[in-house]
Symmetry: C2
C-alpha cells in the first residue's frame, strides 16, 4: 500500500505543479488591467473578460496559500499581488461590502447581494497578508470577516426575496463557510473566538443540518432543525454535504475528536450511497430527499468540484480513520473523476459533464469555475497521500 | 392538403378536450383551500402544495379563455372562479403588487420581486372578467396592468442586483409581454392606447432586439439596440424569440401588415436553423450567439414550451403566408414534439427532456410548468389548422 500511496501523492503533485498551475499562470493573468481572466475555453483562450469577485478572490487565495504552504516562489506572490491590488482598489462599495462582479477595468457590474463575496475576500486577503506581510492586506481581511459576521443572519439583506415569517429557513452554506473561513483566519483571531465559532458551527452542522435517520446533509432546514416539505426544504446537494464533512473532519482532527471524525465519515459514505449514479457513474448535482423531481434542471449533471471535494473527503477520512470503506469508495470516485474530468489533451479539468459523463460545456473556466477547486483538491489529496505513505 | 389540415385540427382538438384539460380538471384543483396544485407527477399526484403566482394566474386565464372563446361550460367557469377568488384574496401585498408564491393556504412566501406575476394577473383577470362579467375582476385586471406600466422601466425595483450605469441593458421579455398583454386587454383599453403600445412594442422588438444581419432575436441589448459582449448580451433563447414572433404576427395580422408577418416568419426560420439540434433533434433551450459556452447549465435540454410555441408560430406563419418553408419545418417539429413530449400512457405532456430527448424530470407540472403552454398551444394550433382546412 505504501507504494500505492506514494504513486498517488506523485500523481497529485505532478498534476498540480506541471499541469493545473501552469494553465492558470499562462492564460488567466490580466497583467494589463490587474486581476484575472476566468472565462477560458478548453485551450485556455479568453472568451469573456468580466471579473467575478468569488473567482478573483479565490485565485488570490490559491496562489497565496501555495506560496505560504508549499514554496516561496516569487512568481506565485506576483500573481497573488496582481489580483489583490486590483481587488482592494475596485472590489468594494462605499460601505466596504464586496461586489459580485466587475468589468475587466474594475467598474462594478453586480451589487453585493450576498455575503459569499466577502467570505472569499476574507480567505483571500488572510492568506495574502501572510504571504506579503503587509498590514493593509490584514486590514482588508478583517474588514471582510467582520462583514460576514455582521451579515450572517441576514446574508442577502435588502435583496432577500423571501417573505419574512411565513416559512423561516436556514442554510447549510452559512455555518459551513464560517467553519472553513474561521480556520483560515485562525492566525488573526483570538483563540477564544476561534474555538467558540468552531464549536457553534460543528454543533449546528452535525445536529441541525444532518438528518440522523437518513444520514443525509440537508441544504435548508427550519431554525429548530426540522424539515420543511417544499423544494428548498427537500433539496440535497451531495457535493456540498461531502465538502462540509471534510471541513468538519479538519476541525475535529485539531481537537483529536475521533468520534466526530467517524461520524463525518459515516455521513460521506451515506451521501455517496444516496447520490452515486449506478447507471453511468459519478455523483448527481442535486437530488430531492423524497425522490420527487428537483427544481434544478441541471440536477443529473456531473460537476468537477463535487467529485474533487469527494476525493478530498475520502482521502482525508481514510488517513484519519483507516476505514476500508473510505479506500474502496476513494478508488471508485478516483477512477471516475480522473477518467472523465482531467483533460489529457489540453490540461486542467473539464467542469461540466452531462449525466453520461460527456463534456457539456467545453470550458476550463467561466462564471463559477476558476483557479480554486482543482488546485485546492490536488494539493490536499497530495498531502493526504504523502501522510499515508509516511505512516 | 385539406384532409391533412382537418386531421391536424382534430388531433389538437382531441388532445385539448379529451386529454390535457381533463388531466388538470381532475388533479390540479384545490377545492378545499382555493387555487390550484401545479406540482403534479407523471400520473397527476400532487407532490408539492406551494402556489406559484405565475401558474395560478395562468390557469385562471386558460379556463376563462376557453369559456370565452370555445364553449360556455359551467365547470370551466367554476374552475376559473376557484383560482380567481383565492388570488384576489391572497395574491397581492399591501401596495397591490403580486407576490411570486404562496403557501397552499395563501400565506405569502416570496415577495413581488418582478413584474411578471402582475403581467399574468392582468391577463388572467381580464379574461376572467369577460367570463364572469363582474366589475371587481375588471378592476383587479386594470390595477395589475397599471402596475406593469408603472414598473416596466425598472421591473425588479429594489431587488435589482445590477449596478446602475455601468452596463445598461434592456430585455426582450418586457416589450414581448407588453405586446401580448395589451392585446389581451384590448377590450378594456382606449383604442388609441392600444395602437400606441402595439406600435411601440413591434418597433422595439423588430428594430432593436432583432439582429438583422444574423436574423436572430437577442434576449438582452444596450438601450440603443447595440450588442454587449457578455454572457447576458450574447444569450439567445430560441423558444422565447420564436414565441415573440407569433405575438408579432398576431399584431401584424390585425393590421394586414404582410411585410411584418413575412419578416417575423423569416426570423422564425432563422432561429430554427440556428437552434435545431441536428444530431438528436429538437431545439436547444439556450445558446450563445458567438458559440461560446453559455452560462445556463440546462442549455442543451429540450423543453415543452419551446416546441409548442414553435408549433404555434409555424402553423400561424403557414396560415398567414402559405410559405412552404413553414409547412416543412412544421412537420419536422411536429414529429419531434408529438413523439417526445406527449405522454400517451398517462396523458398531458412531459416538460423537460435531456438533449437526447429522454425524460429528465418525470413530472407534468412544477414550479414553472402548469396549465398554460400546452392547452394554449393546442387551442391555437387547432384554430390555425381549422382555418387552413376551410381555405
Amino acid at each position: 500500500m505504501r507504494q500505492e500511496f506514494h504513486k498517488l501523492a506523485q500523481l497529485y503533485k505532478n498534476a498540480l505543479l506541471n499541469d493545473v498551475l501552469p494553465f492558470w499562470e499562462q492564460h488567466s493573468i490580466d497583467w494589463e488591467q490587474g486581476g484575472y481572466f476566468t472565462c477560458l475555453d478548453r485551450e485556455g483562450n479568453v472568451y469573456d473578460t468580466d471579473k467575478f469577485i468569488w473567482l478573483q478572490n479565490r485565485q488570490v487565495w490559491t496562489f497565496s496559500m501555495l506560496y505560504n504552504q508549499l514554496e516561496k516562489r516569487e512568481n506565485w506572490l506576483q500573481i497573488a499581488t496582481n489580483g489583490a491590488n486590483f481587488l482592494s482598489q475596485h472590489g468594494r462599495d462605499a460601505d466596504g461590502n464586496w461586489y459580485f462582479s466587475l468589468t475587466r477595468e474594475g467598474q462594478p457590474l453586480v451589487q453585493p447581494y450576498n455575503i459569499f463575496s466577502d467570505c472569499f475576500a476574507a480567505m483571500a486577503f488572510s492568506q495574502y497578508a501572510l504571504a506579503c506581510g503587509e498590514d493593509w492586506a490584514r486590514d482588508v481581511a478583517m474588514q471582510a470577516y467582520n462583514n460576514v459576521l455582521r451579515r450572517k443572519d441576514n446574508p442577502k439583506g435588502k435583496y432577500t426575496k423571501t417573505y419574512p415569517g411565513t416559512r423561516p429557513m436556514k442554510s447549510l452554506a452559512v455555518p459551513m463557510i464560517l467553519a472553513n473561513l474561521t480556520l483560515e483566519m485562525a492566525w488573526l483571531l483570538p483563540n477564544e473566538t476561534l474555538e467558540q465559532v468552531l464549536d457553534m458551527t460543528v454543533q449546528e452542522v452535525m445536529n441541525d443540518f444532518l438528518d440522523k435517520k437518513q444520514g443525509l446533509m440537508y441544504e435548508n432546514i427550519a431554525p429548530d432543525g426540522s424539515h420543511i416539505d417544499c423544494f428548498e426544504g427537500r433539496v440535497i446537494n451531495p457535493g456540498h454535504g461531502i465538502e462540509a464533512m471534510w471541513f468538519i473532519m479538519d476541525i475535529a482532527r485539531r481537537r483529536n475528536d475521533t468520534q466526530t471524525i467517524n461520524q463525518a465519515v459515516d455521513v460521506v459514505i451515506n451521501i455517496l450511497n444516496f447520490a452515486w449514479d449506478s447507471e453511468y457513474g459519478g455523483l448527481y448535482y442535486f437530488m430531492d430527499a423524497k425522490g420527487y423531481p428537483p427544481q434544478q434542471l441541471e440536477w443529473d449533471q456531473k460537476l468537477w468540484w463535487v467529485h474533487l471535494e469527494t476525493l478530498v473527503a475520502l482521502a482525508m477520512g481514510y488517513r484519519l480513520t483507516g476505514r476500508d470503506i473510505c479506500w474502496e469508495w476513494y478508488q471508485k470516485v478516483h477512477d471516475y473523476a480522473w477518467s472523465h474530468f482531467a483533460d489529457s489533451q489540453h490540461g486542467e479539468w473539464f467542469g461540466y459533464l452531462n449525466r453520461r459523463g460527456e463534456v457539456l460545456l467545453n470550458l476550463k473556466g467561466g462564471k463559477w469555475k476558476g483557479c480554486f477547486h482543482v488546485p485546492r483538491a490536488l494539493y490536499l489529496c497530495w498531502q493526504q497521500f504523502e501522510a499515508l505513505g509516511a505512516q
